[in-house]
């Protein structure tokens, strides 16, 4: 068991930590908010660094890294709220590489190759000059030339999927439709539906989507993708929480009130300490979930759901405490804590209702809910003979004299004496 990064993972964390710190500055995050929540320049740099397809197999044009290695990058991504759809994209890329039919899709000339510079070792090359038509779709996604995402919500009868994460910028959208996994390709709208967290959420028309997997294969591939998504978002939340706490510590050490640093007050310290404790627990659970999902362990999906819910809850708690301890400045647009506060809510909700996630966990751990009408049926005989609702045994003298527990104690003490 090794719960810390390997040396290689440490190096990856440092390299991407530097990249995000340099490129995904709070100014860049705010600039992306003015658009659709996407920074194309950052995406190209990430693609040049091999991040979008790093956890796709080498044969499919990816980097062949593990999900855990990807999580190391996602942790840094989360710390900086980097406005690029790294997690959705990386998970969809792995789905495309694993769902048999998706590997046969190729990029169609003039249809799928987007009107934007192609990514190639950081150089800007117009796709008109060096197009990537006829290459496998998986490879075009793994390279980051095409942006991919998943639609976690239902596909409506008219083929619409609403509020698709990264829907504003994704060229490829995978979705679950009936017993199938489908892949839709189309020009992204480039505009997001205005939202709390300035995420690139958009409705997408999936009516022309192609089926890439069906039946058990589809269910397996989709469930795995969702588990990966949740586990990675849990890791992203750990990054968010860690950074917002660092921000809170720095601010409360520097800000003086009543002649002393705000961070010297125990009330403030204890709020931050609780947030740090929960966030560290969330970080450990998140990486444990990633490891379990990566290893294909049976408890992977369960841990991923739990890690996501707890990660979101503890990150929101941390952002709330840090905003509070900033006082009025925390509420101002000028300070960065509000960027974290809004995303702490948004990242979870774009995946669906937390109560639905809890309900799925309950179904798995406790068995499905019995519809209320069935409860009183004869076939649900009481599993336990019911006692009368009050004790039938005569109340002993000891009980009268002041509590059974105390009586038992007194008895034991007498015996000892």
């Amino acid at each position: 068991m090794r719960t810390r990064y390997s040396e290689d993972q440490q190096a990856v964390a440092e390299a991407f930590g530097d990249l995000f710190a340099r490129e995904a500055t709070p100014e860049a995050v705010r600039a992306a908010e003015a658009g659709c929540g996407f920074d194309p320049g950052l995406w190209r740099k990430l693609a040049a660094a091999g991040a979008p397809g790093m956890a796709v197999g080498v044969a499919d044009g990816g980097g062949g890294a593990s999900l855990v290695d990807l999580a190391v990058v996602v942790h840094e991504w989360g710390r900086r709220l980097a406005p690029v759809p790294l997690v959705e994209h990386a998970v969809c890329a792995r789905l495309l590489a694993s769902a048999g039919g998706a590997r046969e899709l190729v990029v169609r000339r003039g249809v799928d190759d987007p009107d934007r510079p192609r990514v190639q070792a950081g150089e800007r090359i117009r796709h008109a000059d060096h197009g990537f038509s006829d290459t496998p779709l998986v490879a075009a996604v793994a390279s980051g030339d095409l942006i991919a995402t998943l639609a976690p919500g239902p596909v409506e009868p008219d083929g619409t999927s609403r509020l698709v994460p990264a829907g504003a910028v994704a060229d490829v959208v995978a979705a679950r439709r009936g017993d199938h996994v489908v892949v839709a390709r189309g020009r992204p709208p480039g505009a997001a539906r205005p939202n709390t967290a300035d995420l690139p959420l958009a409705d997408r028309d999936l009516s022309g989507a192609e089926t890439v997997a069906s039946g058990a294969a589809a269910a397996g591939a989709w469930d795995r993708a969702m588990a990966e998504w949740k586990a990675l978002m849990a890791v992203a939340y750990a990054g968010l929480a860690g950074e917002v706490l660092a921000m809170g510590v720095a601010y409360t050490k520097q800000r003086h009130q009543f002649g002393v640093p705000v961070g010297s007050f125990q009330a403030v310290q204890h709020g931050l300490a609780d947030a740090a404790t929960r966030s560290e627990g969330a970080r450990l659970l998140a990486f444990r979930a990633v490891c379990a999902v990566d290893a294909g362990r049976a408890d992977g999906a369960r841990l991923a759901s739990m890690a996501l819910l707890f990660g979101a809850e503890s990150a929101r708690f941390a952002a709330d405490r840090v905003l509070q301890y900033h006082g009025g400045y925390g509420y101002s647009a000028e300070y960065d804590v509000q960027l974290y506060y809004r995303r702490a809510a948004g990242w979870l909700l774009q995946l669906g209702e937390p109560a639905a996630e809890t309900a799925r966990l309950a179904d798995a751990d406790l068995g499905p809910k019995r519809p209320s009408g069935q409860a009183a049926n004869r076939d649900t005989l009481r599993e336990r003979p019911r006692e009368a609702p009050w004790p039938q045994r005569p109340v002993s003298a000891a009980n009268k004299s002041g509590g059974q527990a105390r009586a038992a104690r007194e008895r034991s003490e007498q015996e000892r004496e």
């Binding site: 068991m1 406790l366 009183a376 649900t380 009481r382 034991s412 003490e413």
Partner: protein, 388 residues
């Protein structure tokens, strides 16, 4: 990074489960109802298996069990509600003796503790000092090659069944408070010691111990004169891993699930089909997985030989505070039935949830209160200024 339990540790878990199936009896658990969460037979069986000495670091001459396996042992003991409070104490006391003790303590005391034949208990807290442990006022005064001890200790749990108390005393009242302390290993049958029971809300028995002109040879001194704080600091590192407390909630959740399946509301519905009940059960299970992640992390750090400090505080803080919360939720869930104690024939699972509800508060107090742990996290993890 790999959080999966090594195959060897999983095999060890099976061994512990088999051991508990063979040795942990209903009578042992029932016997703890007198408030003493200890079974001599179980303690000796654990020692005979080599797990007590195994928990002592190899560099001190102990078994040096892999910390991950030690974590599994503690987890299984707690999941099975085994009355093993004395195990952690024994490991701490014997480790401190092996690190700081003289020949006499090494020869006369350590082997008896390691074999499980003798028990230790901790004498740190006093009526006037708990979290501020270095403020201890129990006096030890040198008289030739003997010491005369006067004072009182609070929360000397297990003293009434133990053979030795690890006693923190003040030997120089003039020195700054951390520099005038000295430790002794005191045989509890020494003349002048009185042990009085302290009963608790959770039915556990603790003790107050009184020391009235207790005369002790210098061979019972542990560590240097006025160097008690150095010894104290090492106690912390030995508590890690063995002190337990990371897994208090599963027995409560088990009982809550059982109740929610069996009980029927006035309309015939089962609580287990109620969304609020389901939500709280799931939420509690999430907290358990957080505790498990913390426990595995600290064990993995220890097995790499890395020292950890604040992680232990975080683990204890999170586990005890979430445990208290769960007990409150599930007591509420049961309504009036939740109030029934095990003395009532209709109490669900012998009043398990009610009993845990009364026990839970102490877990956020003993071994470092939640407030002290928050201070440690604020200072040691976040780097905030010392606030006391």
């Amino acid at each position: 990074m790999d959080f999966s339990m090594p195959a060897q540790a999983e095999a060890f878990r099976e061994e512990v489960r088999q051991f508990l199936a063979d040795h942990l009896t209903g009578e042992m658990i029932a016997a703890t109802r007198d408030g003493t969460i200890h079974s001599g037979a179980l303690h000796r069986a654990i020692a005979d298996r080599g797990w007590l000495s195994g928990a002592v670091p190899a560099e001190l001459g102990g078994g040096g069990m892999d910390p991950v396996e030690l974590c599994v042992l503690v987890e299984e003991l707690q999941l099975h509600q085994a009355p093993a409070d004395a195990l952690g104490v024994a490991v701490v006391v014997v480790s401190m003796i092996l690190e700081h003790g003289n020949e006499h303590l090494h020869g006369a005391v350590a082997p008896r503790l390691l074999s499980g034949e003798a028990l230790g208990c901790l004498g740190y807290s006093e009526p006037e000092s708990g979290s501020d442990v270095a403020a201890a006022r129990t006096r030890a005064v040198r008289d030739g090659d003997r010491w005369v001890i006067n004072g009182s200790k609070m929360w000397t749990t297990l003293a009434h069944v133990a053979d030795y108390v690890l006693l923190l005393t003040r030997t120089d009242p003039e020195a700054p408070k951390h520099r005038g302390l000295t430790f002794f290993v005191v045989p509890l049958d020494t003349a002048g010691i009185e042990i009085r029971a302290v009963s608790t809300m959770g039915d556990e028995r603790s003790n107050a111990t009184f020391y009235d002109d207790v005369v002790l040879g210098d061979e019972w001194r542990l560590g240097g004169v006025n160097d008690g704080w150095t010894v104290m600091k090492t106690a912390l590192k030995y508590e890690r891993g063995i002190a337990g407390g990371q897994f208090p909630s599963p027995p409560v959740i088990e009982a809550a699930v059982d109740w929610a399946r069996r009980a029927r509301r006035a309309d015939g519905s089962r609580p287990i089909d109620d969304d609020d009940v389901r939500h709280k059960l799931v939420r509690a299970m999430i907290d358990v997985e957080v505790c498990r992640s913390f426990a595995y992390h600290t064990a993995a750090l220890a097995s790499e030989g890395a020292m950890f400090g604040v992680e232990g505080s975080m683990t204890k803080l999170f586990a005890s505070e979430s445990y208290k919360k769960h007990c409150g939720w599930f007591l509420d869930m049961m309504g009036a039935e939740g109030l029934l104690t095990r003395d009532d024939p209709g109490a669900h699972m012998e009043g398990r949830i009610e009993e845990h509800f009364r026990h839970a508060p102490v877990t956020a107090i003993y071994g470092g209160t939640s407030e002290i742990n928050r201070n440690l996290v604020a200072e040691g993890w976040l780097g905030l200024p010392r606030s006391r």
